[in-house]
């Protein structure tokens, strides 16, 4: 009886340990630790055309060793285009405004504004870019809306495989 219990307990323990052991095995130390942030680049707003949301396409020098200039410019240009679309004074935004007035702005409780829709689109685009282009290069784009549309923050991760440094 007791020995049976003991063996049951020990087998149980072994089982648990085995589980844990298995768990430990599947995750290497490398995976558990994210790479450290080496630095951050901030792409500023381009105010040349006024206060419209537009970011500078100038390629930051810190990214020179990490990213192609073209890719970066393409990303920023697409973002700029998307923001221009969001802020466009078109028929759609006008109708939205009229509708809002007529319903005493209660329409905003159920409907999303045009700008918000485009922002969602932008967010998806950034996520997509991160997954495809930036993360493989040890970079990460931050949605500028989180910074009040003032900067595009690009986080540069430390590259331990080559050695620390840019």
């Amino acid at each position: 009886g007791r020995s049976f219990n003991a063996s049951l307990l020990s087998s149980f323990n072994i089982g648990i340990t085995g589980l844990c052991f298995k768990k430990v095995k599947t995750h290497s130390l490398q995976d558990l630790r994210q790479p450290a942030v080496s630095s951050k680049v901030f792409v500023q707003r381009d105010y040349n055309s006024g206060t419209i949301s537009k970011f500078q396409t100038k390629f930051p020098s810190e990214l020179e060793s990490r990213l192609d200039k073209q890719q970066f410019e393409e990303t920023i240009q697409t973002l700029n285009n998307l923001y221009a679309e969001a802020e466009k004074l078109g028929g759609k935004s006008y109708l939205e405004g009229c509708l809002a007035c007529l319903t005493a702005y209660t329409i905003f409780l159920c409907m999303e504004t045009h700008y918000e829709k485009v922002l969602k689109k932008i967010s998806r685009y950034i996520k997509d870019q991160n997954e495809k282009i930036y993360a493989p290069r040890g970079l990460l784009l931050t949605d500028p809306i989180e910074r009040g549309l003032r900067v595009v923050e690009i986080t540069i991760f430390e590259d331990r495989s080559i050695g620390s440094g840019r």
Partner: protein
């Protein structure tokens, strides 16, 4: 951390918080309550007493029409009151890793060919985008800031300007309706004026008539503003008085922009989607070009050369474009420091034409603030974007942060300033910069920086900049003249230069932090805390840049680059903080620093500097003495912007001009704020807001007067004690 508490912690709701929790001030709710009471009360009375007869006598369309207009008014009133005007969230710490004292207070950008100045906001920790302004009542930077309206108890900015404007329009219409129909009633009941209905109608008419003139005036004012594409703020501060408004797109476009554009998004309170992106090495790298390879090998000079040449050449077009008649800033010397990633700060890439700040970066060695780096390195949670807001927790420096929300990053900033000076000494602390590090470069930067900030100014659209640029030109010339002198004395005089730096603006209380600033003035920290913000900007670190420049001017030998940077810096700070000591300007430190001091300056050649110094000091004294008086004249600080933002940026000369110029508008607010309606055509809308703007520069001139004497003992981090004679 208080600063983040209101926003919620941990990636869920959007953090950083836009504003820290504020004390409840019931007086702020009086105007809005009164407005609501009058609006709803009078209209209800109208509907109860006048409308029944009107619907009988004429038709029922009338009450319906009045009701629709009233509902529209209410809806816009509510939106104007409760809607976020476009508040910018506070910038995160890593956006401003750069040493503040090296960064200018203003940055210029070109908008449609016109130079526009962006000011550093010390509270929000970023350079305010064009048309953005910091509201002292709400303690937030607001995008396209129009004014702070007490009647809705909210700022009017980009997001709710439309609602505010429509509210004004509809309210005017509503008042006219009520008055008109009330008049019709009264005219038909001339014989029965003693009936309660008639009496009530007449009362409502009186109220309506009373409110009609100011509201209509304000409406007309805003109609003009909308047509011109200006904000109340710009109109009242006279920004475009003599020049061209770069923000206008023509009358029709302006109107359609206000009325027809899509609702701008909120920046604060957004739900953040945590990016659980797995960023793992090995990372792809683009193929290196020959030049890049070479640059990598010879990292030192070539990198810097590229940067400096780029920024130099890029400066030229800007200067030529500006209408300034000032001499161009002195060329920045080459810096021989290990090339450092320029990435670290937001401001590095801020300017479209080659930022000047990167050159300062250059000697921001791998020694960049250990505190901040530690944050980055030791805080893996930062990798996950959603958590990045939690960053300010564990590192050493963070723990030394102030409870004051405002001071969060700046405790670190303060350290940076010091770090340069006492770098060698600061074992555990801030920037363990080597002696070779910041000194010479620091000297360079202020010269270049100030030049840059001056050069960018255009006389056309910003008349106020004229004053500053004049002051600025003085400062640049002065700096060279004074540089020869004892760097310490140079500092004091320079303390009033226009080309002040962010660090000065970031005057925040520090208690027991690792910042040298707090070491220097531990007793001052409480003063900071308790005093109105008015005093803080005066903590002039304005001296720094000049100090650096002074050191630079003296032909700092590469061997001892720190000189111009450290000692003048320290002494400047001390000197400035003890107002009475302006004339002295000598600070003695315990031996290690004395060594610096001695090493510092070659004998000052120019004698012409001295009288200028004296003059400056006198002027500084004058302006500072004028300060408290002006402070008292502004009531309750209601509409005063927290002085944390405006550091003493004018040269004493420029300052006094500014002072005079602003004295007028400064006194307008006190009268206007007496409550009640702000009447008056052009000035009506501006009255509320005027309080904030003119007072800003005035406040900038306040310097904390401290009469010190003897020796002050300050204890440093590593237990070192510095004796500072004041």
């Amino acid at each position: 951390m208080p600063g983040f508490s209101s926003g919620g912690v941990g990636g869920g709701v959007g953090v950083p918080a836009s504003a820290p929790p504020r004390p409840f001030r019931p007086s702020r709710y009086v105007p809005v309550s009164a407005a609501t009471t009058f609006l709803v009360g009078s209209t209800s009375l109208f509907f109860c007493f006048t409308c029944p007869w009107l619907s009988e006598y004429f038709s029922c369309v009338i009450p319906i029409y009045v009701a629709v207009i009233f509902l529209f008014t209410l809806a816009n009133f509510s939106m104007a009151t409760f809607m976020d005007p476009g508040v910018f969230p506070r910038a995160e710490e890593d956006e401003d890793k750069e040493d503040d004292f090296r960064a200018p207070l203003y940055k210029t950008v070109e908008i449609k060919g016109i130079q526009v100045r962006m000011k550093w906001c010390a509270t929000c920790r970023f350079y305010r985008p064009p048309r953005c302004s910091h509201c002292s009542v709400c303690d937030n930077c607001v995008e396209d800031f129009d004014h702070h309206c007490p009647w809705v108890n909210n700022c009017i900015g980009r997001r709710n300007y439309r609602h505010f404007f429509l509210f004004l329009l509809s309210l005017t219409t509503h008042i006219m309706n009520v008055f008109g129909f009330g008049l019709v009633y009264v005219l038909h009941h001339r014989q029965q004026l003693d009936t309660p209905h008639a009496v009530v109608t007449m009362v409502v008419m009186c109220v309506a008539g009373l409110f009609f003139f100011p509201v209509a005036g304000l409406t007309g004012f805003h109609m003009v503003l909308v047509a011109r594409g200006r904000t109340t703020n710009e109109q009242v501060t006279g920004k475009f008085r003599g020049g061209v408004n770069p923000f206008t797109n023509g009358c029709t476009r302006n109107i359609s922009h206000v009325l027809c554009s899509s609702q701008a998004p909120r920046y604060v309170g957004r739900s953040r989607s945590p990016q659980a992106l797995d960023v793992q090495p090995p990372f792809l790298r683009p193929p290196l070009t020959e030049a890049q390879l070479e640059a990598k090998v010879l990292d030192n000079g070539i990198q810097n050369d590229r940067h400096s040449t780029r920024s130099k050449s890029s400066l030229d077009p800007t200067e030529s474009q500006s209408a300034d008649a000032e001499p161009p800033p002195p060329p920045k010397p080459e810096l021989r420091y290990p090339g450092l990633p320029r990435a670290d700060t937001e401001e590095s890439s801020l300017l479209t034409e080659g930022p000047t700040t990167p050159s300062m970066y250059k000697y921001r060695p791998a020694f960049s603030s250990p505190g901040r780096n530690h944050t980055a390195l030791t805080h893996p949670s930062k990798m996950i974007r959603g958590d990045s807001l939690d960053s300010p927790s564990p590192s050493i420096l963070q723990s030394s942060r102030q409870p004051s929300y405002r001071s969060e990053p700046s405790s670190l900033d303060g350290t940076t300033v010091v770090g340069g000076g006492v770098g060698a000494r600061r074992g555990g602390g801030d920037r363990g910069e080597g002696p070779g590090g910041p000194g010479g470069a620091a000297g360079v930067i202020p010269g270049g920086m100030s030049g840059y900030s001056l050069a960018g100014r255009s006389h056309t659209s910003y008349p106020s900049s004229l004053v500053l640029s004049t002051g600025g030109s003085h400062s640049s010339s002065l700096r060279s003249a004074l540089a020869a002198n004892n760097p310490l004395s140079t500092l004091q005089s320079e303390g009033t230069t226009d080309t002040s730096y962010k660090s000065l603006a970031n005057q925040t209380p520090r208690n027991g932090s690792l910042s040298y600033d707090s070491l220097l003035t531990p007793s001052e920290s409480p003063e900071f805390e308790s005093a109105a913000h008015e005093l803080s900007p005066q903590k002039p670190r304005a001296v720094f840049p000049s100090a650096g420049a002074a050191g630079q001017r003296e032909g700092v030998s590469p061997g001892s680059p720190l000189q111009g940077y450290t000692s003048p810096f320290l002494s400047a700070q001390i000197a400035q903080q003890r107002e009475g000591q302006l004339l002295q300007g000598s600070a003695t430190f315990s031996s290690p620093h004395r060594a610096y001091l001695r090493a510092v300056s070659p004998p000052p050649p120019s004698a012409s500097g001295a009288p200028e110094i004296q003059h400056l000091l006198q002027a500084n004294h004058n302006s500072s003495s004028r300060g408290p008086r002006n402070l008292s004249s502004s009531p309750g600080g209601r509409s005063l912007e927290p002085p944390v933002s405006p550091p003493p940026r004018g040269l004493s000369l420029g300052k006094s001009q500014y002072h005079v110029g602003e004295a007028g508008p400064q006194h307008r607010p006190p009268r206007a704020s007496g409550g009640g309606l702000v009447v008056g055509g052009g000035g009506a809308g501006g009255g509320q807001q005027a309080a904030q703007y003119p007072s800003r520069p005035v406040l900038a001139n306040h310097t904390p007067t401290k009469s010190g004497g003897g020796v002050k003992k300050v204890t440093g981090v590593g237990g070192t004690t510095y004796e500072i004679s004041v």
